[in-house]
């Protein structure tokens, strides 16, 4: 029972990877990358979890209350931001690829033009 969260992370990672391998569209490929990124976010959040603990916000909590790990949560923030900008950059590259080759199929992109 305890390993189910880890299984979910692995499942998200592998299914995202499968999507990337089998993708026939660059936009779809970028979406699959977001699935992989969400698996890393989930892993970070999950590692810091402690049973019956509150969020590390002590507004209405006593200062010695049991709270989940704040360091991994701050790391997840970095993960989300970097993930978002990487996806934006990849979508811009997809637009340029479409202009250059008139297709979004990664299998047809490799054809050299000269």
């Amino acid at each position: 029972m305890n390993s189910i969260p880890y299984l979910v992370t692995i499942w998200l990672f592998v299914i995202g990877l499968y999507g990337i391998v089998r993708s026939r569209n660059l936009i779809h490929l970028v979406n699959c990358l977001t699935v992989i990124q969400s698996s890393t976010c989930l892993l970070l959040i999950m590692i810091g979890y402690r049973t019956n603990a509150a969020a590390p916000v002590f507004k209405n909590l006593p200062e010695d209350a049991k709270a989940v790990d704040p360091v991994v949560q701050a790391l997840t923030l970095t993960d989300v931001v970097v993930g978002a900008v990487v996806i934006a950059l990849l979508l811009a590259i997809a637009i340029q690829a479409h202009k250059q080759f008139n297709t979004l199929d990664p299998h047809k992109l490799s054809a050299m033009k000269g």
Binding site: S3, I10, G48, F58, A67, L77, V86, A92
Partner: protein, 261 residues
């Protein structure tokens, strides 16, 4: 490689990967029993040390504020890269977009979208500002709040059209807002040098726990990050919108001009 073949290659490799990663994960702590020393220590001392109640913000904007600065630079570099990638080129104006072919008209924006696009930007902006300005007390932060503020502005585009959007939103001002956010963050860090402290040292008074003006520079840095992120995300969205809408319009103008000849 044939698609069916690549599928089987992937399945074999993925099975091996799953087996290996599962072996690796087995050695980790059981779910819910994490006892990392940094997190426990920070939960104990952060509130008494800095008087800000949101420990995640304290980590991101005080103890590890240098990382957050790096994050902001990543955002800035990405926006710069996208504006470089999506710049206007000469050959583009010769193509004819499908929507502009004779006999094709795009449907008008639906009334429901217009009504909600008019109703919500104010509320969403308020919520985003709240997220930025209360980051040190309750869950929130400059990044999240900045993105929420940007989404309020993008709703204006959704409800009207790109022309009205670009007449309301001044790109020059957005660039200035982003610059103020980025340089404000760095100058706050550098200011600590003049007091003899290290970079991004929390030099403001910490205040009383739970009061609004607490946590020192956490609030200040959050405001700067909120400015930089909201400006940056709107610029980013504008870059993509310009690519799909404005360039096609110029193409259409070129086409109409050539027809008259």
């Amino acid at each position: 490689m044939k698609p069916a073949f690549s599928k089987w290659v992937f399945i074999v490799i993925a099975a091996a990967f799953c087996f290996l990663i599962f072996q690796a994960v087995k050695g980790l702590n059981k779910f819910g029993e994490y006892n990392g020393i940094y997190g426990v220590t920070l939960n104990k001392i952060a509130v008494t040390e800095r008087a800000a109640t949101n420990v995640v913000s304290t980590v991101a904007f005080d103890y590890r504020a240098v990382d957050t600065m790096g994050e902001e630079f990543i955002l800035f570099a990405s926006i710069a890269g996208i504006s470089l990638l999506l710049r206007r080129r000469h050959i583009e104006e010769e193509e004819i977009p499908e929507e502009d072919l004779p006999g094709r008209t795009s449907p008008d924006t639906s009334d429901a979208v217009k009504v909600f696009g008019l109703m919500y930007p104010g509320f969403i902006f308020l919520f985003g500002a709240y997220m930025v300005l209360h980051a040190h007390l309750t869950p929130g932060g400059g990044f999240q709040g900045g993105v929420i503020i940007a989404s309020a502005v993008i709703l204006i585009y959704l409800a009207s059209d790109y022309k009205r959007f670009s007449s309301i939103v001044s790109l020059k001002k957005l660039e200035k807002i982003e610059t103020v956010g980025l340089s404000g963050f760095i100058l706050t860090g550098i200011y600590a040098f003049f007091r003899g402290d290290s970079f991004l040292y929390n030099f403001l008074p910490y205040g009383v726990k739970g009061s609004y003006l607490s946590g020192g520079i956490i609030l200040l840095l959050n405001i700067f990050v909120g400015l930089a992120v909201s400006g940056g995300i709107i610029l980013l969205a504008n870059e993509f919108l310009e690519q799909t809408i404005l360039l096609r319009e110029t193409r259409a103008i070129v086409r109409r001009g050539s027809k008259k000849k």
